[in-house]
Amino acid sequence: MVTALDKIEVTLISGRTAKQGVGLEEGKPSESYVDSVRLIQLCPGDAEKLDLKEDSPVTVTTEHGSVTVHWVEEKTLESGMIFFPYGPWANQVYNSVTDGTGMPIMKAVKATVEAGGKVQSLTEIVDSLKGGS
């Protein structure tokens, strides 16, 4: 029997998805948009390492922040790499330092993934930007 790990170290890659594009044109508050960006993709092996249950959330943490989201399996990803679609949830873990270029780093970011946490709604994310909970 394989013992589940508390957390795994990963390289976080962000980017666009077609579903995200379709959703944002419907409207950012739409279920279609929120569902398309409030998740990460990871490989089946890494999901198994963390003993993730189908509907259980995961928490992604970098040295700049932490956010809890849903997860889906993506067989084409290699172990140790997650894909996080651009959006308000992914933005919680990026550094705003641009090293004099204007551009924050949003790809190939070192992160950890662990099971658990509470997934926030879009309103809660915006409230947190306002200084709320």
Partner: protein, 427 residues
């Protein structure tokens, strides 16, 4: 009524072959569109902001504009940001507002292909239109870009599948190479997928450049790619008739940023000693190229423009939105056709909630949710006409297909109302 050759106002492809049916003032049918374009045209009325608002309460347009004028005229250092999803007339007005207020004008290029602009200003570029790619290219390289997710018809319409004047065989006559850190929809249709280690594009680009030049590198692999494969790729690139590199945010948003683009231009430059090779950035928002173009006409600079001295100054890293918000330097913001609260790192986005933010937007977004003043506007390319610039720099005319909701004006009109108000205050 049937509208033909309609330009799609979503991504930098600006596909101009859409056929749209309008019945009784509503869009009821659409042909030739990708899934995102279809969503844009058919859902342009959903989640719509129907009234102006101040402090979260409904207000008349007149009152909201007056509030916006007051905020901007009282600000010591206002930021005017966004502009990539509207037409050029609105962009022009926004730049003028930047000048009148002594503020800073930045557009979304600063978080997409800003590093590309920085590099191209240093080293130049060898470029071509998408029409030339379609008609001539026999080698297409997608480097750090995934059009199957971000530019859905690029492959079908411009780069891979179409038969052109000199590319008569279409897909069969083209070699497609994808360089990426992971498998994507685009890698699946490639003839060759070059999988590289994250954050190592610069090294591979330089190794390829050296190999094309004939240098022998005393290593077994670079960026996780065996030297044998690098040598084969260099030979294939040298031996094509017309090659094009379509590069994306895989190069601009990872370590190296503008230096990655510098290296890509260097590779293309070296390849031009052997054959014809060009490169084109995969611009995301449909008129981000127009935002750079219009800002350059008016100020000499494409983004990150500061008017505080009374004349335009340019300094990405200092006058770019993420830096200005993260440092808390700006004391007011006006956001046009963009959603920084959903696209910036949280540290930077948080400042928008601390300062009076004015947002011109069609739909509810995280940015409108934290704005002091919200001004609803018409959707350019659907409810308002104008001009937009395709990713390759070709300007195309956007159509007005239906009327906007009653009392809702175009971005340009609303910005003009604010500009006039600011001029009155200044007198």
């Amino acid at each position: 009524m049937e509208h033909v050759d309609v330009v799609c106002p979503f991504c930098g492809c600006l596909c101009d072959d859409l056929e749209i049916t309008v019945e009784e003032g509503h869009i009821t049918g659409i042909k030739n569109a990708c899934a995102v374009s279809r969503s844009k045209f058919l859902n342009h009325g959903s989640h719509r902001i129907t009234s102006a608002a101040v402090d979260g309460k409904k207000a008349s347009m007149k009152k909201a504009v007056k509030e916006a004028v007051e905020i901007l005229s009282n600000a010591r250092r206002p930021l005017i940001y966004g502009l990539s999803s509207t037409e050029c007339g609105a962009i022009s007005k926004a730049v003028e507002i930047g000048e009148v207020t002594g503020g800073i004008v930045d557009n979304t290029a600063s978080v997409c292909h800003g590093p590309t602009i920085l590099a191209l200003q240093q080293v130049g570029e060898s470029k071509a239109t998408l029409g030339e790619a379609r008609n001539r290219a026999d080698m297409v390289v997608f480097w750090g870009s995934n059009p199957t997710a971000a530019h859905l018809r690029h492959i079908v319409r411009y780069s891979v599948m179409p038969k052109g004047m000199y590319s008569t065989e279409g897909r069969k006559g083209r070699k497609v190479i994808v360089v990426d850190v992971r498998q994507t929809g685009t890698t699946r249709l490639a003839d060759k997928f070059v999988k590289i280690k994250p954050n190592s594009d610069f090294e591979l680009l330089q190794a390829l450049r050296a190999t094309v030049r004939g240098d022998e590198l005393p290593v077994d692999e670079v960026s996780g790619v065996p030297m044998k494969e690098i040598k084969e790729l260099a030979e294939e690139m040298k031996n094509c008739k017309f090659g094009i590199v379509f590069f994306g945010l895989g190069l601009t948003q990872s370590e190296g940023r503008h230096m990655n683009i510098d290296a890509a231009v260097g590779l293309v430059s070296e390849l031009n000693r052997h054959t014809k090779f060009v490169l084109t950035p995969m611009r995301g928002h449909y008129n981000v190229a127009g935002a750079n173009t219009v800002a350059t006409w008016q100020t000499g600079y494409p983004y990150a423009i500061d008017f505080s001295k009374g004349y335009p100054r340019y300094n990405p890293g200092e006058f770019t939105a993420v830096d200005l918000l993260a440092s808390g330097e700006v004391d007011a913001a006006m956001i046009i056709a963009s959603d920084p609260a959903a696209t910036f790192p949280a540290d930077a986005a948080r400042h928008l909630a601390k300062i009076p933010t004015i947002t011109l937007e069609q739909k509810t977004t995280p940015t409108t949710m934290l704005s002091k003043v919200v001004l609803p506007v018409a959707t350019a390319g659907v409810e308002a006409e104008g001009t937009a610039y395709r990713m390759d720099g070709v300007p195309l005319r956007l159509s007005k297909l239906v009327e906007p909701p009653k009392g809702i004006h175009s971005d340009e009109k609303v910005l003009d109302m604010i500009l006039e108000g600011l001029k009155e205050v200044a007198q």
